[in-house]
């Protein structure tokens, strides 16, 4: 019996079309657009100006404060403009547009392919380098990694959990990374262990990636303290709280953080970026992105420079199919539908999914038949059927009582609902309103 989390969860069709396609390096675009807010926290402050020449890996925007992240140029060339551009939700946000000229890297970056296993940095240096490199959670949450590694006073981490679950259907970027960069990943995990001063790291991988489990378990023997664990396939196992529950059977308290129970969770992509930042001096300016879809000619995994337009990725994967009606940035359960395919790839872009028209629109709603499928699907033990009613009736104070803020918006309830009710839509609305109420109370 494989381990998994106890409560709720669903099993959407996996559709991992690109699982067997090795990571390809995408050719450089003519122009990149790098938004200054690609992470949770304050937008970075721009430190270049129009007309400046920049190199690959050069700092172009400085993190503003502790919860923020540095942003580096992903290409070499000239800063063409510093103006708001459309982000994936259609709003205009400040960004730096750079016209690409050649591919000249900062000389400090070690571009050699050799594995550098020896770690000489101490905990403080590692965290400092991670902050300098602008690393954020690459699973999609984009929380600045150095913040997560700086354990607050009075708390102590005793275990590091590495998220190789990739529970979202379609996505395969983490899977490929584990298969192709296993040793680099392991060194990255060791760096994170040293930064946190823990001697145990567990890598959780869902059982639909047997090759990755086998490979990582094999090489983990060379790295003391690291073990790989197969988990039963169940969405949303990649959620921090669910993964901790599945691997070490501890429950993060409501409203709390994993560190409250001594755990820190990082994504495999993040661990790889940490290796590159600390051992190779390479800031985060490229990432692996899965480009996939049922009718896409060539579903692929690309190593992409941040700021590359999504349309270029789709073109490299065979071009947009004629029947496309929706393009999603991220996984199908939690990703965001984009309003325009020219939006840039950001640090949080784990995948681009192209949906045919037949699967793009929701089916007609009918009435709630109180089947309780949403209650059994909710991994947080909430009652979506009740929350949607409260939200529609604007009973937001009661929603707070029903712990709506515990919702992590995994979408399991909407996925299961036989009446096609927009459960999560209204729960989100409720969360926003409850947060407003709480803020008003504090003031």
């Amino acid at each position: 019996m494989l381990k998994t989390f106890a409560k709720g969860g669903v099993h959407p069709p996996e559709n991992k079309f690109s699982a067997n396609r090795p990571i390809e390096v995408l050719s450089l675009p003519a122009k990149v657009t790098i938004p200054v807010s690609q992470h949770i926290g304050a937008p970075a402050t721009i430190v270049v100006s129009k007309g400046d020449k920049v190199k690959v890996g050069q700092l172009i925007a400085q993190g503003a404060g502790f919860v923020s992240a540095n942003i580096h140029s992903s290409v070499s060339g000239t800063v063409e403009s510093i103006e708001p551009v459309l982000d994936s939700s259609g709003y205009k946000r400040p960004a730096i547009t750079i016209a690409v000229e050649g591919d000249e890297w900062e000389p400090t970056i070690d571009r050699s392919p050799e594995l550098k296993r020896h770690i000489d940095a101490d905990a403080q240096t590692i965290i400092k380098k991670i902050a300098e490199a602008g690393i954020v959670g690459l699973g999609g949450a984009t929380f600045p990694s150095h913040v997560k590694l700086s354990v607050p006073a009075g708390k102590k981490a005793d275990v590091l959990i590495i998220n190789g679950v990739e529970c979202e259907p379609y996505l395969t970027s983490d899977h490929r990374l584990m298969l192709e960069k296993g040793h680099e990943l392991m060194v990255g995990i060791q760096l994170l262990m040293r930064a946190l001063n823990v001697d145990k790291a567990l890598v959780g991988i869902e059982n639909n990636k047997p090759d990755a489990i086998k490979y990582l378990s094999e090489i983990a023997k060379e790295y003391p303290g690291i073990t790989a664990h197969a988990l039963k396939v169940k969405y949303p196992q990649g959620g921090e709280k669910q993964l901790i529950k599945a691997l070490i059977n501890r429950e993060v308290p409501s409203g709390g953080l994993p560190i409250d129970i001594g755990a820190v969770v990082h994504n495999v992509g993040t661990a790889y970026a940490v290796y590159e930042a600390v051992q190779k001096n390479k800031p985060l300016f490229e990432r692996v992105v899965t480009v996939t879809g049922k009718n896409l000619p060539k579903p692929s995994n690309f190593l992409v420079r941040i700021g590359t337009p999504v349309s270029e990725l789709i073109a490299a994967a065979g071009g947009l199919p004629d029947d496309t009606a929706k393009v999603v940035n991220g996984g199908p359960m939690m990703g965001k539908a984009v309003t325009d395919i020219t939006v840039p790839v950001t640090k949080g872009t784990s995948g681009i999914i192209v949906f045919p028209a037949a699967e793009s629109k929701r089916k007609a709603e009918s009435v709630c038949i109180r089947c309780a499928k949403c209650v059994s699907a909710c991994p947080m033990g909430l009652e979506p059927y009740l929350l949607i009613r409260m939200s529609q009736r604007m009973m937001f104070d009661k929603m707070e009582h029903e712990r709506v803020l515990d919702c992590m918006e995994c979408g399991s309830c909407s996925f299961e609902c036989p009446a096609n009710l927009p459960l999560l839509d209204y729960i989100r609305l409720g969360k926003t309103e409850v947060n407003k109420i709480i803020r008003a109370r504090k003031n």
Partner: protein
Amino acid sequence: MDSKLVVSPSPHVHSGESTRRLMFNVVLALMPAFAVSLYYFGIGALFVTLLSILSCVLFEYLIQKFILKVQPTITDGSAIVTGLLFAFNVPSNLPWYIVVTGSLFAIGVAKMSFGGLGSNPFNPALAARVFMLISFPVQMTSWPLPIESRLKYIDAVTGPTPLAILKEGLKKGDTISQIADQIPSHLQLFMGVMGGSLGEISALALLIGFAWLLYKKVITWRIPISIFATIFVFTGILWLINPEQNADPIFHLVTGGVMIGAIYMATDYVTSPMHPKGMLIFGLGIGLLTVIIRVWGAYPEGVSFAILIMNAFVPLINRYVKPKRFGEEVKRNG
């Protein structure tokens, strides 16, 4: 690509489950029991079932179209399920006008007057059955005998149900062993060779349907199993105390409406609790009430009443029995 991109909030995929498919699976799960019923009760069963389904669907359509003036939703299949279940809960020789009146009550009063599918507090089919039982006590309790009545409808040969035999016998002061020879064997009861409502007789056929519903994840095990367990334990204790005054637990499980009630009526989504723990409490209540009515009550059978009574407690159960939230225990301890 000429068409506009669609923007919608996540999730972007759906399980494909729909109300219609759930209802269809319930109908499918009832088919083995229907086949058994056709085999034992013949044309009477066929006629009553078809009439009941037809009138339920028709009444739903008419009420939605002409009284509520909304788009009729008969295609969701809930009226078919109600019609089927109502037919399964009445004798196969029930006159047509009682079937039609019952259907009208089920759809018009028990379902639509509360706001239609999703809002009715009581199971429509059961509410109709109980209402008819009170209104037409004679017709509703004349049970055709299996096989002999195959080619008959109103003129079917009738006889008492095993539960009625038991109740009468005990009332006269007989002991179980004295009554035993009038009652079919346990195996016969399990297969359905007894008088009773047209769909409730064969425990085997109903359990096959149960397996199908579990396999298709239409229902969970909680309500049926908790009812079975409660009835088994409660009647088991009574039987151990005095086997001459109380029938054995297996007898109680396979007779009357326990199977159909526990698997198909108590699990009705709309009228059962939303939370795992609540479902167990609900099942426990039904089990206890059923045995109490059967052993000490005036009626030989009590499943319908037990379910209806517990239906009334569902809002209360939903309010006070909450699912365990993630991270709750830890917070209390820490």
